[in-house]
Amino acid sequence: MVNSRRAIQECLEAALGTDKKCDLVMLHASIGHDYQALADEVRRQIPGVRVVGASCCGIVGCEGVSESMKDVALMAVRGPELAVAHVDGIYGHNAFEKAAELARQLKAQQPGITMIQFLASGIDIANDWAIAGIESVFGPEVTIFGATSSDNMRGVVSYQIVDDQVFEHGAWAVGFADSSLEVDTQATHGFLAVGEPMVVTRAEGTRILELNGRPAWQEYTSRLGLDPENATCGDSIPVGALAEELPTRLAEEYGNPHILRVVTKRDADGAMHYATTIREGTRLWLTVRDEERIFADMDRMMAAMVERVGGRKPVAVFHADCLARGRYLLNRVMKEELVGRMQFPLSSSGVVPPWLGMYGFGEFARLGGVNTYHNYTTAIYAIYRR
């Protein structure tokens, strides 16, 4: 829907019908939209409602997937046990502090928060430190799920919406304090690490300065067979997932010995922006996609999730998918098939539960009982009534 205001009107009508009462609206919209117009229209339609949202490369709803420049999906939430907080100016170097501040805001509103949906700019942030920042307030027991915002894989800018404001380097979090609710999260990717790893020989925070002793971008693109001078992140992201080795214990749960990372941005000096902090000496493998494994791992993950909740059906599902798993990886038919495979196990008599998904730069899901940041994955966050 090209008209942002009309898109919101139609979405709200689909979600709420004529009874426009709700406390929180979470929305995702692709990069062709006017985010301010989207936010304003939600608040015009439902005066006083809290709004959080993010730019993305595509959306997933009950009706399926769409990855155009003009997609909008939203979920309207009712309930008093909610907390919404946001911070601005979150980057790699201050991710912990900003996230901690965010968490404190949440806790100030709702001390009994058990799970937190977190969203931050996906381009230049240390997501591991962000997790750490939140956990520093709520402890590692709190489940953090969510995604990082994106553009359409250009790595230029991404947006975060909070109420009537639109940020480029912001983060927001929604805390759920309803003790009757719980969330089950899991992520999967299905990529294979190939060849010899590249060794991080120089790094600063989230920036990789050198790989194998060479300027990182040059080494990275050379290995990918891309022209270092002209290649963009848009070129490298689909083919350049970098794999870090997982401990055997986590690899077993993950179904894959590697966790993937994305290069979201590159600097003129050849430094690459990594999605988490990285230490020198880390070995990074290039990967290839394996469609069979992608589907197989998806099925394995969904089966595990269903098994974990003992057959219960979720009351709502949040879903974060890597934009590199969308139209840049799978054709429309396969993509819809993949979404079908994740929605069907959680459906009740064929009815898909309220579902809000987005294609972003990264995903948050627990791994080995620990809040973890992922890339190139499909991450499912199924909310259950206890």
């Binding site: 003009k70 230029v156 290995r223 996609r289």
Partner: protein, 739 residues
């Protein structure tokens, strides 16, 4: 194996491994390129799908404005760019000042005026029939447009006429998020353009059809209302199928309900009056064969209640290419009421005609009676006056002479009364004919003044005349009737004036190119007329103030009525202004046609020889059935030396002319046996000089018709009875001089 032996092997393996690794990554890149290609194809397929969805949706656009908005939105929906514009051309093929609709266009973007200017310089819609292009950033930057990429397509009507432009593009602000679509990658854009063009053209056609449908519907409603209101029955006979449609009104006209008459041609045939059937069938057949342009048939159809209804049928056949009738459509109009009215009107007209005939007969009888009376009175009066004139020539004492003069005046007055009665009778019967012959108005006026002067002098009052100074004024009109009017009014003025003067002023008014306008004003210093009397002044038999001494001012009271009637017949009217005791002023205006320059006025009496010789020589034949009249004429002429023979009828006169030698004949007109006209015709047939003898009518019938008949029979001149001795001798003298 030592190191030296192993090194080459390991080195080869390493190289192979590196190569394999490169191939794997290369494979990933190639695979990604394939995925990208597939994605682009997916996108293009998606665009076609969205074009289809748009087309379906746009069909339901309820207005051109809504359609334009749909188009602009669809540009973004389908091509996923930032801005969509739908920009229409005017009738001259120029872009309108602003697009019909825009989507995604924000205030910070280039102005419409700038975009329009660039588009008009960039495109040649008249020459470039396809007119689809993709403009890239350098060109757009040069045009100072804040766009990095733009697709432009021209929507054309099927006939080629440009309808509008579709423009979609991305501004530099968001260029990083969009891939520029090259012309090859946007094959769906021309398709979309063509689709919009077709839909837009169809909208116009659909609008025309809707408007025509609405007009047709309204027209049908009007026709239906008109038919219901006018009670016109409608019939439609399809000759090919034989079916006949008869409207509700058609059946109701004959007292039937819709289901009581089967709509077949037989239905009509069975209802036609037997007397009208053959003619009706003939008329139908005549029209079918193309002999008549329209079918019109006034005929009778039997009403359900048994009586017949007069119906006017009108229709027309619709013909095929070869002219044969294939459909026959028309109307029936019940004209029974008109027929009844017509019948009553005819009866009324018959009654009116009979009444008019009776009135005309009565009027004719009256005219004949009056004319006859005139004739019958004038004949003995001819004797009386003639004898009085002859008596005056004898030796009389002054007293006797005075008595004779009074007797002569009385007789003349009696004649005037008879003349007036005759005139008013003719006026009332509408039998007065106004001549249109040339005469000299100036001479006429002088003549009238000359005639009236002796009357004025007799009363010792001044008679003045004022005329425009011009040599002559020849106009067309009835000189005799104008003279009559002037004599009447001036005579009245003299009659009612005892002291002072009577004045006639004639002025020329503003004429036209072919008419002279004259105003006549007769003023007197007489007794004047009271306001009460003025109201009835022009009514017949009215003599002004009833309290005037009617004995003193004797008269019939017809003069003014006759004058008014004559003036009206001549195109003028008369008005009067008067005060009791302060005289009167009569005015009338006449516009008389100018006579052609070659026309000449006939001689007036004044032109006749003024002096009659004391002695005349010649032989005159007097023909009159009245012995008195013969005697009067004889006694008037013989003292001058003329020899006079007498004949008592036409036959005798003709016989005498054949035998004798005459110089002139005085011929009475109405005589028993052969009358004067017949006798004159016989005389004119006589050979030689006899056939050319002057024949002067001597008639008591003074009406124009009778006098015309005199000339028609061949008479040379006429004199009215009672004849004046001077006039008689002047005429005789005139013709004797000629001979």
């Amino acid at each position: 194996m030592n190191d030296k032996e192993e090194s080459p092997s390991i080195s080869v393996l390493k190289q192979s491994y590196d190569e394999l690794q490169r191939r794997v990554t290369r494979f990933s890149v190639v695979e990604q390129e394939l995925i990208d290609m597939r994605n682009r194809l997916d996108c293009e397929l998606g665009r076609f799908g969205r074009i289809h969805a748009f087309s379906t949706q746009a069909l339901h656009a309820d207005s051109d404005e809504a359609f334009a908005i749909m188009v602009a939105d669809a540009l973004l929906d389908v091509f996923e760019l930032e801005v969509g514009l739908f920009w229409l051309f005017d009738e001259q093929g120029r872009l309108l000042s602003e697009p019909a609709a825009s989507s995604g266009f924000r205030s910070g973007h280039a102005s419409f005026a700038r975009i329009r200017s660039w588009l008009e310089s960039r495109i040649r819609v008249q020459e470039d029939k396809s007119c689809f292009f993709a403009a890239q950033r350098p060109e757009l930057q040069q045009a100072a447009l804040d766009f990095s990429h733009m697709l432009v397509g021209c929507c054309r009507h099927p006939c080629g006429k440009p309808l509008g432009l579709l423009i979609t593009g991305i501004t530099t602000a968001v260029a990083d998020f969009h891939d520029a679509l090259s012309e090859n990658e946007a094959q769906s854009f021309p398709v979309f353009t063509a689709q919009v063009a077709a839909l837009y053209a169809n909208r116009a056609s659909a609008a025309i059809i809707r408007r025509q449908m609405t007009d047709l519907h309204e027209s049908e409603e009007r026709l239906s209302l008109a038919i219901k209101g006018s009670e016109i029955g409608f019939w439609d006979w399809c000759l090919e199928s034989g079916s006949l449609v008869l409207s509700h009104e058609w059946k109701a006209m004959l007292g039937y309900h819709d289901d009581e008459i089967v709509s077949k041609p037989d239905a009509w045939l069975s209802l036609v009056h037997p007397e009208d059937l053959e003619r009706s069938l003939h008329l139908v057949s005549e029209h079918m064969s193309g002999m008549s342009e329209n079918y019109e048939n006034l005929h009778r159809l039997r009403h359900k209640e048994g009586h017949y209804v007069w119906v006017m049928a009108r229709g027309r056949a619709l013909r095929g290419e070869k002219g044969h009738a294939r459909r026959f459509v028309g109307t029936h109009l019940d004209i029974s009421r008109q027929k009844a009215l017509e019948e009553r009107l005819r009866e009324a007209e018959e009654l009116q005609r009979q009444a008019r005939q009776q009135a005309e007969s009565a009027s004719q009888a009256k005219s004949v009676f009056v004319a006859s009376m005139s004739h019958e009175i004038r004949t003995p009066m001819n004797g009386v006056i003639g004898m009085l004139q002859l008596l005056q020539d004898t030796s009389l004492t002054p007293v006797q002479s005075s008595l004779v003069a009074i007797a002569e005046q009385s007789a003349t007055a009696l004649l005037d009364i008879i003349g007036d009665i005759l005139d008013i009778s003719k006026v009332e019967a509408g039998r007065v004919e106004i001549k249109n012959e040339p005469f000299d108005l100036q001479a006429l006026v002088k003549n009238v003044i000359q005639l009236m002067r002796h009357r004025a002098e007799a009363k010792d009052i001044l008679l003045e005349c004022q005329m425009p100074k011009q040599r002559e004024c020849i106009v067309l009109g009835d000189e005799g009737r104008l003279r009559q009017v002037l004599i009447n009014i001036i005579g009245n003025a003299i009659k009612f004036t005892d002291r002072g003067s009577v004045r006639l002023a004639v002025k020329t008014g503003r004429g036209t190119i072919n008419r002279h306008s004259f105003s006549f004003c007769i003023t007197d210093t007489g007794v004047g007329i009271s306001p009460q009397a003025l109201e009835h002044l022009f009514e017949p038999f009215n003599q002004g103030d009833s309290n005037l001494n009617t004995c003193k001012y004797a008269g019939t009271g017809l003069g003014l009525a006759i004058s008014q009637a004559l003036l009206r017949l001549m195109g003028g009217d008369i008005t009067v202004a008067s005060q009791k005791g302060a005289g009167s002023e009569f005015r009338f205006t006449l516009a008389l046609p100018r006579a052609s320059p070659s026309a000449s006025a006939p001689l007036l009496e004044k032109d006749l020889p003024a002096a009659i010789p004391e002695r005349l020589t010649g032989r005159i034949l007097v023909v009159d059935d009245s012995q008195t009249s013969r005697m009067v004429a004889k006694l008037m002429m013989e003292p001058t030396g003329l020899k006079v023979d007498l004949a008592c009828d036409g036959e005798e006169a003709v016989s005498m002319v054949k035998k004798g030698r005459y110089d002139a004949i005085l011929m009475d007109c109405q005589m028993p046996g052969m009358d004067g006209y017949e006798a004159t015709r016989h005389i004119r047939k006589l050979p030689g000089k006899r056939g050319r003898l002057p024949v002067i009518a001597l008639t008591a019938n003074v009406e124009t018709g009778f006098i015309s008949e005199c000339y028609a029979s061949g008479m040379s001149d006429h004199l009215c009875k009672p004849v004046q001795k001077a006039s008689l001798l002047a005429k005789i003298s005139h013709y004797l001089a000629e001979s």
